[in-house]
Amino acid sequence: MNSWKEQLSSQIPQDWGKEIDIFETQIELRKRGKLDEKIFAETRLRRGVYGQRYDNGQRHDGEQTQKLAYPSGLLKGPETVWDAPGMLRIKIPFGGVTPDQLDVLAEVAEEYSNGILHVTTRQDFQYHYIHIEDTPDIMRRLAAAGITTREACGNSVRNLTACPKAGVCSGEEFDVTPYARALTDFLLGHPDCQDFGRKVKIAFSGCQGEACGLVMMHDIGALAVKKTRRGKDVHGFALYVGGGLGTVPYQAKLFDAFLPPEELLPISQAIARVFGRLGEKKNRAQARLKFLVVKLGIEEFRRLVWEERQILPDDPHWTSYLDHLPAYGETPLKPPSPLSAEKTLPEGFAEWQRSNVKAQKQTGYAIATVALPLGDLSSDQTRKLADVARRYIGDNIRTTVEQNFVFRWVSEEDLPDLYEDLLEIGLGDSGANTIVDVTACPGTDTCKLGISASRGLAEELRNRLAAKSFEMDEAVRSLRIKVSGCFNSCGQHHVADIGFFGNSRTLNGYKVPHFQVILGGQWAENAGSFGMTIGAIPSRRIPEVVDRITDHFVLVRNQGENFCDFVARIGKKELRSLIENLMKNAPSFEDNPDFYHDWGDPREFTMLDRGIGECAGEVISASQFDLADAEREVFDAQLELEKENYAEADALAYQSMVGASRALVKQQYFDVPEPPDIVVEEFTQRFLDTELFYDKYAKGKFARYLLQRHQQGPVNADADSVHQLIDQAQLFIDAAHACYARCAVE
């Protein structure tokens, strides 16, 4: 077999396979100029295919901006060149990943990317330097392993995150995993989630006090709550809405203190519908759910959502997963065991155990963190890590928002051997969950919006802090540092003890990379509060900032005082005074050219490489997507005609017309059912009888093609009839586009 499509057809879930085929056709349509670049951009984003730095066809080489003469000249989005390598984001719901999946991820990374697998700040994986034309095959190979990229980017429901310790954490109320799975499956591709002005991020947490789930900074956050009724435990969720990071971070608001599990899916659906309907669509800086919640007020928002909930048609998916809950559980690979005191421990083990290992609630088992520098590991390491997992824990691996892996269900006796095996593959670093374990967004390395080198800085800090971690005060050791390359906060700097985001200032006539310093964000309490902005410091002086702040903390902290409280007590003025002189007295370029370069980048610093971001994608309505789908169907009809499959071609052409009319009806009646009879009737009433569909010259002529074919019922299609129908369908779809545009203007 010479295509992955054939080779894997029996292993890919049917609907996923079909979606990938459709995406492949959309790529083809775009190449032929038959799909608008903006619609294509949002289409690919919703399949996880993202832009990357320099895809606008230019790059500053340190002296001047060079044009990158990519071969085809075609675009895959506004100012985004087709041939430029891009990023692919892969969804890993709640971070759950198996060794077999890791094997496939490793293969794909080395064959199509650069042999690197990157863990993101939302438990996903990312590949960089991917060519768009390779993406359908990549998706097929991942899909065959049960992994999707669908809705990893774009204005959609993004990866659903959860505590990586869910199910094994001694502090949790209950294991949120099966609920997270159910909500993921329910919302993936859900029709009510296709019409957002912006992305929606959901997180689950098993408890209130820890950080793991970060519920308070999410659009929708579900916190496990347990009640006792008539002597029995009853599970529910405290549901929060309208949190989010970004330029201005918002804490989520309590929507319901105890939402029973049977309401979790329908309420999420109702929230999606209210957001789709009332959320801002034009001004993308105001389009996240957090703005709608503030605008309406939480009471009104709650009322609208419950009102929507009442009119939702019943869906068996809402509760069908509940039947499987009692059977849900993970199977440990090994029996439990204590770590025997007699065992000789390898060098470095004690340190690793102290930072990277936590006891599980199940006696005899431990959770071990595999720390990844900058969230990266190579394909070779990934395969070897998968084998290590097979040896000790089986399928029980999760990624974390701190860009690491956790191994769950490690039988305690195995810990020293596990440590040595990890060391052997270069993954035995200690310092996980400490100040050494710096988190960073992609920044200027690959992000189009990056201002400063977040990864370069993170690497520098990690190396410096690791070198002195042994002599560090325990209170400092347990701090968190998070770095974003710009104000968008993908690195989650707002919720770190010490956070940085990139910006720039002009000093001595040169642009100089800077980082804004944010102190005292709360990681605990599910990201319970955000940090305080102190001031912008030249990038090269940031290590000095870390030293001064941490030294001062050790010096003046009250007994037992944590960093957040310390920051609040000391206040901005004093904190700023600690670092104020680092903002001044820039050396001259001649004396210290390094000062004018960013970390890890020998080019003179510039802002000229920033492009337009795709974080929000394009706001494309559900109707526009449906019209694009109709285009694709008529294109497929043509292909079938060429293969002399007349019946298929006829059906596709007919379907494309019904689809296009449904797209128009959707503008007025979002939930229009799918049966063609209903669609055609609604279309007739709403667009023909009202003459909304009419244009100046053709009047309602093209709509008659639809009505005729619809009334005909089943036909014996032949080459001529199909040919004619395809031409008619194309004319009808063009007219539908024109009608949509007229209505949108009005």
Partner: protein, 185 residues
Amino acid sequence: MEYFMELQRLSVKLVAESTTVKPLELVPVFHAWIRNQKLKDHLMIDVADYNHVPEGPGTLLVTYEGNYSLAQEDGKIALLYQRKRLLAGTLTERLNTALKAVLTASELLEQEDEFRDRLSFDRNRFWVISNDRLSLPNTEQSFEELSPALSEIATEFFGHDNFILSRQGGEKERLSVLVESSVLN
């Protein structure tokens, strides 16, 4: 056409023994290559530093056509050319183009002022890696299928019959063939 004949994504690797050059030193060098348009037949895009990843790609020169990387590998330095976009010609011609790409890069690196006398690649052996598990998976059959084309380029490179081909790489790794001069061994 046989599937293996379609192999497009392939890599060629050379190693340098006992060098003091560290892959990190390549970061400014590759940036300068881009500035000076050093590789005429490649659209050079960017430089990426993955030296924090053991067994990773080290320092990467990203081009439209493929990636060049210099990384630490088993105590040596390996220069890899990973072709990503389509190559013209027959399988032999494609292999030749990839081999030429890595040879050209190796010579340019040896000529860099800061590497002179410090870096010399071993041209008695090179590795060809099938970066495509579909066309050419890591099997004995694939090895046999690839061998005639490899023999052709090896003959040209080392002279008639003066070479050995051996299959390398573990079960889950890609098919990798060591092409080695037999004269020195």
